[in-house]
Symmetry: C2
């Protein structure tokens, strides 16, 4: 559980107190359990605090906001998925040609996002986008685009390809316009081919 520090953190600020560390782990564990027991939408900050045996203030001090807490929870499950992208079997993982990997990435990302929809929603505050999660997908797509010898503004091109895979857009298409998933995936892959071929 204690997998800090996410960023190397030039270890110099006065070390963290042991009770603080223990409490953070307890809160995160409680949140993790409650989320998969009742779904992210039904988990309140107070219920997490209670389940962790701490006060509400402690939860907020450690995770800043509801968004922050759920971002931490999300990170946890993202890790496994990132693993499969980085070192899993092809075509998602390494070993397949870059274009195939990119196409597989899209499909995988869509299904993953939709299957953890509630959690993604809870982890996406109206403010700051969850940085670690975001940056991994971005860097991966950038990497593949470069391997494909795509020219131009790679970071922004990657962002443009990722944007249609964001939860709100998928929600709209799947739950409001009732478009079938395969069609959505196919359209995204078509987009990718156009961008890459050019």
């Amino acid at each position: 559980m204690t997998d800090r520090p996410l960023l190397p953190l030039a270890g110099q600020g006065p070390r963290e107190r042991s009770d603080a560390a223990r409490n953070r782990d307890a809160v995160l564990a409680a949140a993790l359990r409650l989320v998969d027991e009742h779904g992210a939408g039904a988990v309140t900050m107070e219920s997490v605090a209670e389940a962790a045996g701490v006060g509400k203030g402690t939860v907020f001090r450690r995770f800043e906001s509801r968004t922050g807490l759920f971002a931490a929870v999300l990170d946890h499950s993202e890790a496994r998925w990132q693993e499969s992208v980085i070192s899993g079997p092809p075509p998602l993982g390494p070993g397949a040609p870059p274009l195939e990997r990119l196409l597989a990435f899209g499909e995988s990302r869509v299904t993953r996002t939709l299957s953890h929809a509630e959690l993604f929603q809870a982890a996406t505050g109206s403010h700051r986008r969850a940085y670690p999660v975001w940056s991994f997908t971005s860097l991966h797509v950038q990497h593949l685009l470069r391997e494909l010898d795509v020219t131009g503004d790679i970071p922004l091109l990657a962002a443009a390809l990722l944007a249609p895979l964001e939860l709100p857009i998928l929600i709209q298409q799947v739950h409001i316009e009732h478009l079938p998933l395969p069609r959505i995936v196919a359209a995204w892959q078509d987009l990718v081919r156009r961008v890459v071929i050019a």
Copy 2:
């Protein structure tokens, strides 16, 4: 102010009571005023109710939720912008070749979205995307793509082009990554060219 019905509405449900209509107009007017006086973020539902001289319950009955109310407010100002797209001067309006119109559309959309950021944010609930606003931009882009003889899944292609222009993505790029606006616009236009040329 009374510009109902947005959808023709096969006028048959028992007609709306006069006090209801009056109150809806009062609420919308109050919201409009408060928003541009204090900014959308600082306007509470209760303050709108008070300013309109009605109870809070009335505001919610008419507009469903905070998101709904602000969507109505947004519609108001969107109308003028849509006007300039439909019948304003080229290259945004008709008269210019479709590709130029599309490129101009992107730039215009980006600046508009960012300049009304607060309002867009308030009008975008965690649920349902504001339908009228969304569908106009979508239909317009679809229209231009067809004029450009683009083949493929036009509705989803349009959605993919619009996705990177959504507020959360722009916020990320402008306020967190500190990318200059012209670069963002240029990258989007590059994307469009790739899609169209292919």
